[in-house]
């Protein structure tokens, strides 16, 4: 049994390589867009079943977000953080299905070394490029929030304890987010492949159940930590406004 950590390139699109993980990422996006459209196309005051499920997901996630940051910040950052959560969750859970990973759907690739077989679909988060991309989106957004909150005063944060240490510290956050998600999902893929190879009946089902649990926990962890970082960055806004108010308060 062979397992390649780097996803194989299936074909090229406009000169850019498309791997089986990118194909799965597109599929996840399509699934989410279609489900969201179905749930929100006829919004009513008394919701139907799909609208109720969508409202439940949003309300529950907002409640969890309020525990991590305050209510104002949880609502403000809900679009990005909830999208990350739903995308990662859908990708992780789709990856447990039999057609993903070491499953039944193969393609034959012809390269300079002859013919090789590659899976058509593979869990998107088992590719470091995908998880790092999500980490970098969070990184650029929380730097934007920090600069928007404090303006050029945000750069004061890079003075102590040193520019290099602060830069590495900021960069370590998205890398840590990406590595944790990538490591957990890749390990799950390898585990399912090995278990299916050793004991093809019943035992893989137990591990699939475990992978469903890991999938939702990792999605929550990624989203909640992103919210925590955004909350930390926007804390400069509170400090900045507090300084402005104390300067203008003496006239009262």
């Amino acid at each position: 049994m062979e397992f390649h950590i780097a996803p194989p390139t299936l074909f090229s699109l406009f000169g850019l390589p498309v791997s089986n993980t990118i194909l799965t990422a597109w599929l996840v996006s399509v699934v989410l867009v279609v489900l969201t459209w179905l749930a929100t196309r006829n919004l009513t005051l008394v919701p139907g079943r799909l609208q109720s499920i969508a409202e439940l997901v949003v309300e529950q996630f907002l409640a969890i977000g309020v525990q991590t940051a305050d209510a104002r910040r949880a609502r403000r950052f809900l679009p990005l953080v909830a999208t990350l959560f739903l995308w990662i969750l859908t990708s992780n859970w789709l990856g447990v299905l039999p057609f993903f990973g070491e499953g039944e759907l193969f393609v034959t690739l012809h390269d300079g070394h002859g013919e090789t077989h590659a899976n058509l679909l593979r869990s998107a988060n088992s590719d470091l490029n995908v998880t790092l991309a999500m980490g970098l989106i969070t990184f650029f957004y929380f730097e934007y929030v920090g600069f928007r909150a404090a303006g050029l005063g945000y750069l004061k944060e890079f003075v102590w304890p040193g520019l290099l240490i602060e830069v590495v510290s900021h960069l370590a956050r998205p890398v840590a987010l990406a590595l944790r998600l990538f490591g957990n999902i890749l390990a799950g893929e390898i585990l399912l492949a090995v278990m299916a190879g050793l004991v093809p009946f019943l035992v893989p089902a137990l591990f699939m159940g475990f992978e469903l649990f890991v999938g939702i926990v990792q999605a929550l962890i990624f989203a909640l930590l992103s919210l925590a970082f955004l909350s930390m960055a926007s804390a400069h806004e509170a400090a900045h406004h507090g300084a402005e108010e104390s300067g203008g308060g003496s006239s009262h």
Partner: protein
């Protein structure tokens, strides 16, 4: 001693982040140092400096996250015996 009022998932998130951010910072420092050594031919000077900077940055980042959590979730232990 202050306790953190965290749910299980929040505690998992914090615990894993504290460890991973340390590793990620050291990794970034090592990669940056190795890159500079390759460019400048100073091996292994920047590799060592990079790993030290990465370790310090990782500890600093973990401390920042811990400070935020204590401020956000920390609450005093209610001890009736001490209050008397």
């Amino acid at each position: 001693m202050r306790r953190l009022n965290l749910s299980t998932v929040q505690a998992l998130a914090v615990a894993s982040q504290l460890g991973f951010v340390l590793g990620a910072a050291v990794l970034l420092g090592i990669l940056g140092g190795a890159f500079l050594d390759t460019r400048l031919g100073t091996s292994p000077l920047f590799l060592v400096v990079g790993s030290i900077v990465g370790a310090v940055a990782g500890i600093y980042s973990a401390a920042q996250l811990a400070t935020y959590l204590l401020a956000r979730f920390g609450k005093k232990n209610e001890n009736p015996e001490q209050e008397q």
